[in-house]
């Protein structure tokens, strides 16, 4: 019964994303445009492009996930769905975790899948592209989970968008450092094991504490 509720929330949010296409697509399109503008602006210096590629793609992913974060709880807060979740006999963190999973599937996974294509513009090698994709696969869920806590804390605050960025972007720094670092390590032949281990070590606590902390913050927002 508990997992049925979990998957019901995931399915509902995916269905909603499919019916409000523009919302989900705008963040993904933003990522594509940002990543595409850099090679155009910098010119065809392959060495420079190769060097900046991991950083540019990661910052692009970070900013585009920020765009999507603001809407994570907004609609549910306004139409009362969050109240119903807070009063459900199913533990609220589980339902919030389901929302975060759906959010990642809509706004994080497309970035992971697009990254290798965009990486081609930066003349990244095949190995580097694989590393980039894997690093994003480990890193983007952290963005949704940690960002979700920020979204919950700033819910209902006027000008919450800016506050959310200020609150959450500093927390994304380690993910950015080790995510982009993984690709650089791969390119320079140092091996990526350590970077992936650290990303994983950030992901696991985020999976556990993210929904818990968000549910707590949301209960306060609902008062």
């Amino acid at each position: 019964m508990i997992w049925k509720a979990f998957w019901a929330v995931v399915r509902r949010d995916l269905l909603l994303a499919r019916r409000r296409k523009s919302e989900g697509l705008s963040a993904v399109f933003f990522f594509v445009v940002v990543a595409a503008l850099f090679p155009l602006g910098i010119g065809p210096e392959l060495n420079v492009l190769r060097n900046i590629a991991p950083g540019v793609l990661w910052v692009g992913a970070l900013l585009s996930s920020m765009l999507a974060l603001q809407r994570l709880f907004e609609a549910d807060y306004r139409d009362g769905t969050l109240e119903q979740m807070a009063m459900s006999p199913i533990a609220m963190p589980l339902l919030i975790g389901a929302k975060m999973l759906a959010h990642w599937l809509v706004s994080g996974l497309p970035l992971v899948l697009l990254a290798p294509v965009l990486g081609l513009q930066f003349d990244l090698s095949g190995d580097a592209l694989v590393t980039l994709t894997l690093a994003l696969l480990l890193g983007t869920p952290i963005l949704s989970l940690v960002g979700g806590v920020g979204a919950a804390l700033t819910l209902g605050v006027r000008g919450g968008g800016v506050l959310l960025s200020l609150l959450v972007l500093p927390l994304f720094v380690p993910v950015l450092v080790f995510g982009a670092g993984a690709v650089e390590a791969q390119v320079s032949g140092l091996g990526v094991q350590a970077h992936f281990s650290i990303l994983m070590a950030m992901l696991l606590p985020a999976v556990f504490f993210g929904p818990l902390a968000s549910a707590f913050a949301l209960r306060i927002a609902l008062e």
């Binding site: 509720a5 929330v9 509902r12 019916r19 009362g80 769905t81 109240e83 459900s88 006999p89």
Partner: protein, 215 residues
């Protein structure tokens, strides 16, 4: 049994209403009255555990609903169905989808046929598959109210359930509420209209009435 003991609620350093106490047994209905802004909605939210009370406590079957009794809170939530001003409906989903997802979030399972049946009872038979944004305000409320006929919750807490309903739906809802109470359910509702719930033998049902007064 639901017991409210000496609940008070402070907004902006001022108590909203004089401390209120009552208890509600199975097969009883309670009409919560009071002027605009006296705190009816606040009290209902406190009962449901959405906001904390500034004093007093809410007991469900003798167990105080607070952090010390997580099992008690869980049992209470399983028995609770709250409908406030926010209907928790999604404009992009159809009425049936809304109903089914809502039931699942509340930890219940609802088959497609049952959901359709419930909407039919509220007179939405040919609107069940339209996205909610094309429905009127009253039809949206009816969709939300259809939830009541499929929930197995014992305690219904309804904030102004009769608003924006036409005469037919008004009577439907009255019958639904009366039926719930007769089958041993509990009901708390607010309403500015006087609503008479009648028993199956035609007699008026005895509805408790609590009036909130300013502190």
């Amino acid at each position: 049994m639901l017991t409210i003991s000496n609940i008070s609620c402070v907004r902006g350093h001022k108590p909203l209403f004089a401390p209120v106490s009552f208890s509600l047994k199975p097969a009883q209905a309670l009409h919560l009255e009071g002027d605009n802004g006296i705190g009816k909605t606040s009290l209902l939210r406190i009962i449901c555990g959405l906001s904390p009370a500034d004093a007093g406590e809410v007991l469900w079957n003798g167990i105080a609903l607070n952090r010390q009794h997580p099992e008690g809170v869980e049992a209470f939530r399983a028995a609770l169905c709250y409908m406030g001003h926010n209907l928790s409906l999604k404009d992009e989903l159809t009425a049936v989808e809304n109903l089914m997802f809502d039931a699942q979030v509340a930890g219940q399972s609802l088959s497609y046929d049952k959901a359709l049946d419930a909407l039919q009872k509220m007179g939405l038979n040919n609107r069940a598959h339209l996205p909610l944004r094309v429905l009127s305000q009253g039809q949206k409320r009816r969709t939300a109210l259809a939830r009541l006929s499929v929930t197995d919750a014992k305690l219904w807490v309804l904030d102004e359930p009769f608003v924006a309903l036409d005469a037919q739906s008004f009577d439907n809802l009255r019958a639904l509420l009366a039926n719930h109470v007769q089958q041993g359910g509990m009901l708390i509702y607010t309403s500015h209209q006087s609503v008479e719930l009648s028993q199956s033998n035609g007699h008026a049902m005895n509805v408790l009435s609590v009036r909130l007064v300013a502190a």
